[in-house]
């Protein structure tokens, strides 16, 4: 029998979360937790409820029932601003970039650097953007064009930079490598390892079973809005996880 290898107070605990859309229970009494310095994979078919569950944490949706605890304190997250207040940053599958704005404006969207007189300081924001991009994607040069002119990988690095720049403690990544080539996927994988070693807790929504086996410490599998189970990735085979996703079959190692 498997059990949670972590002890102490979890960084995030989502307890008994439910949310319904017009009578359809998208998430039905699901509990998950996340500890500092670990990557928890969220798996399941399209429509399994994993994105919906995580949007309750990022503030995009409001849960109907259940509780959310950050470092053991119960919190209310009603909108994305609340989530940011608790250092929860999200990289959405759609990237959530305003295509008509440049990288710096997107990175600081909603949190602009404001100079004297309340005017946004574009040069300061561009300078900060150059600094963080030098770390994340040294080849990035297109600072003064709308992000619609960027490649998929460049857009992704803008979205990641936005999440990383503001000292996230809890990072939510919704299929971060879905639109990327092999080289860029590798870069994201390395970044995840680096952030993990810095003590961030990461929720990773992912379809690619191999990426989950490589990157995650634990995996939570959902099906039809309910949790099938949680496994420690090093105790199971990818066959076991596939069985959970497709058939909803709990292996003995699940808890």
């Amino acid at each position: 029998m498997g059990r949670n290898p972590n002890t102490g107070t979890p960084l995030v605990e989502m307890r008994d979360i439910s949310i319904a859309f017009g009578g359809i229970k998208a998430v039905n009494h699901v509990s998950v937790d996340l500890y500092a310095g670990e990557v928890v994979g969220l798996l399941g078919h399209n429509g399994a409820g994993k994105s919906t569950l995580i949007k309750c944490l990022s503030g995009a949706y409001q849960k109907d029932a259940g509780q959310i605890f950050i470092n053991g304190q119960e919190v209310e997250i009603n909108n994305p601003r609340d989530a940011r207040k608790y250092n929860i940053e999200t990289i959405y599958q759609t990237l959530a970039l305003a295509d008509n704005l440049d990288a710096a404006s997107n990175l600081f969207l909603g949190r602009e650097i404001v100079g004297p007189g309340g005017f946004v300081d574009d040069t300061a924001m561009e300078a900060e953007t150059r600094k963080i991009m030098a770390r994340l994607n040294p080849n990035f040069r297109k600072f003064n064009v709308p992000v619609s002119a960027l490649s998929g990988g460049q857009r992704q690095s803008v979205a990641i930079a936005r999440a990383v720049y503001f000292n996230a403690k809890i990072l939510i990544m919704d299929e971060p490598t879905a639109a990327l080539g092999p080289h860029e996927t590798q870069m994201v994988a390395e970044l995840i390892q680096e952030l993990k070693s810095q003590g961030l807790g990461i929720f990773l929504i992912e379809h690619d079973i191999h990426a989950v086996m490589d990157l995650c410490d634990r995996a939570v599998v959902m099906k039809n809005g309910e949790k099938v189970g949680t496994v420690n990735v090093n105790e199971v085979t990818d066959e076991d996880i596939l069985g959970m996703i497709i058939l909803g079959k709990r292996p003995p190692q699940a808890y």
Partner: protein, 436 residues
């Protein structure tokens, strides 16, 4: 500290290098070119067919600036509305309603309390007009954002409702004349600032241009960003100052008509010499109002969070929401701002007409939308500039004035304006495709 200059590709053509170094927006250049083409075209038409061009004269250009003011002020607000993927069809009717409220207030209601010609009439009248516009705009925005009714429908309803309300206020009567101080805001000889103050304004404009260029260099230097080459800075400074002083010279070379001069001289005990007195109009008040609106709105759009969020909402409303922007409240504020500017436009329009009529502002919504769209605002959202909208309004007014000057009748004017609108958007679409 070593100073980098903007990376210039020596292979590129001279024009490309020039545009890159000066960072002049090519679309702005295209619009200015179109405007000059219209101006020169109408002038030459007059020269060739009548032996005398009437378009490129101080008098005509001065009149065009005054006639542009009302639509131009509203086009600044419409740009924001369209950038955020909405539309406001009610501005013409709201202008009429607001003007009628102001007309009734300053002619029939308030003078009964304080007497005609009281100093407070003009102040309270303007405040009332602005308040009416802002309140109605905010109401429209609330219906759109918080009640989920499409802006097209809300403002289409508004178009009918406010025109009807304007009629009911005075049962269709024309309210005239308005308060004499109020009428100054419409322009005319007395509603202009004269030669001296026009030079002050022109020189202040020059100073602002130089300061902007200097502040830009300083800010880039502080972060070690590449600078424009010095010759490009000098060119921009010369262009900006030339534009400011040239416009001042233009408005100052349009004198008061003889009758007004005589009247003025008589009242002030001045003897008019044999050859006549040359008293300059200078900038008209409505033009100055438009300039202030355009400058303030440009600052709002480029340098404040509010402006940044307007663009973000237009580019991707979902992303704006996820970034923590209160999108609904922003929509209310944008419509309220549109209403405020409509109220201001109503001040200018009714002052210029020296009356409030039930038809004031009819079809203005279409001219305002056309001005914004000709100015490069995309109906798909996310794209648009204030200077574009003002230039668009100037293009529309130039076309109309030009056609009046060469004697086209109203039917042909409508056909031309409509065709130009479609053509302008087509050219813009082609341009965008090429840039991509």
């Amino acid at each position: 500290m070593a100073q980098q200059t903007t990376n210039l590709d020596p292979q590129a053509g001279a024009l490309t290098r020039f545009l890159r170094a000066t960072e002049i927006d090519t679309r702005l250049l295209g619009m200015v070119a179109a405007l000059l083409l219209i101006w020169v075209g109408f002038h030459l038409y007059g020269v060739i067919l009548n032996g005398k061009g009437a378009f490129l004269t101080p008098r005509n250009l001065w009149n065009i600036t005054v006639q542009t003011a009302s639509v131009g002020i509203m086009a600044c607000g419409m740009t924001l509305v369209i950038i955020t993927r909405n539309i406001d069809l009610s501005v013409g009717s709201l202008l009429g309603f607001s003007a009628m409220m102001m007309g009734m207030f300053q002619v029939e209601w308030y003078p009964q309390l304080v007497g005609l010609g009281h100093w407070s009439i003009v102040v309270l009248t303007i405040l009332l007009g602005l308040a009416v516009g802002t309140a109605v705009g905010a109401f429209h925005g609330w219906l759109v954002a918080y009640r989920g009714i499409p802006a097209f429908i809300v403002t289409l309803g508004g178009l009918l409702v406010w025109r009807g309300a304007a009629f009911l206020l005075a049962r269709g009567r024309t309210i005239s004349p308005v308060d004499s101080n109020f009428a100054l805001l419409g322009g005319g000889p007395y509603g202009s600032v004269g030669a001296f103050w026009s030079w002050v304004i022109g020189l202040a404009g020059c100073a602002a241009v130089l300061w902007l260029i200097w502040a830009g260099r300083r800010s880039r230097a502080r972060h070690d960003f590449p600078q424009r080459p010095m010759w490009a800075e000098y060119f921009l400074a010369a262009l900006g100052c030339g534009l400011c002083l040239g416009t001042t010279l233009l408005v100052n070379s349009y004198p008061w008509p003889k009758g007004i001069v005589d009247q003025y001289a008589q009242r002030h005990g001045i003897t008019v010499p044999e050859e006549g007195l040359f008293i300059s109009h200078g900038f008209a008040l409505p033009v100055l109002i438009l300039l202030v609106v355009a400058i303030v709105m440009t600052i709002i759009m480029n340098r404040t969070r509010f402006g940044r969020y307007v663009y973000a909402i237009g580019g991707n409303p979902d992303a704006a929401l996820l970034a923590g922007i209160n999108v609904k409240w922003m929509i209310v504020k944008i419509f309220a701002l549109m209403g405020f500017l409509t109220g201001l436009s109503a001040v200018v329009a009714s002052a210029r007409l020296n009356s409030a009529t039930n038809a004031l502002g009819t079809l203005d919504e279409l001219y305002v939308i056309a001005a914004a769209v000709i100015g490069g605002t995309s109906l798909a959202g996310g794209v648009g500039t204030i200077y574009g909208a003002v230039l668009g309004a100037l293009v529309m007014q130039s076309l109309q004035s030009g056609m009046v000057l060469i004697g086209f009748d109203a039917a042909i004017q409508n056909i031309v304006v409509g065709a130009v609108l479609v053509l302008a958007v087509y050219v813009d679409t082609l341009y965008r495709k090429r840039v991509k």
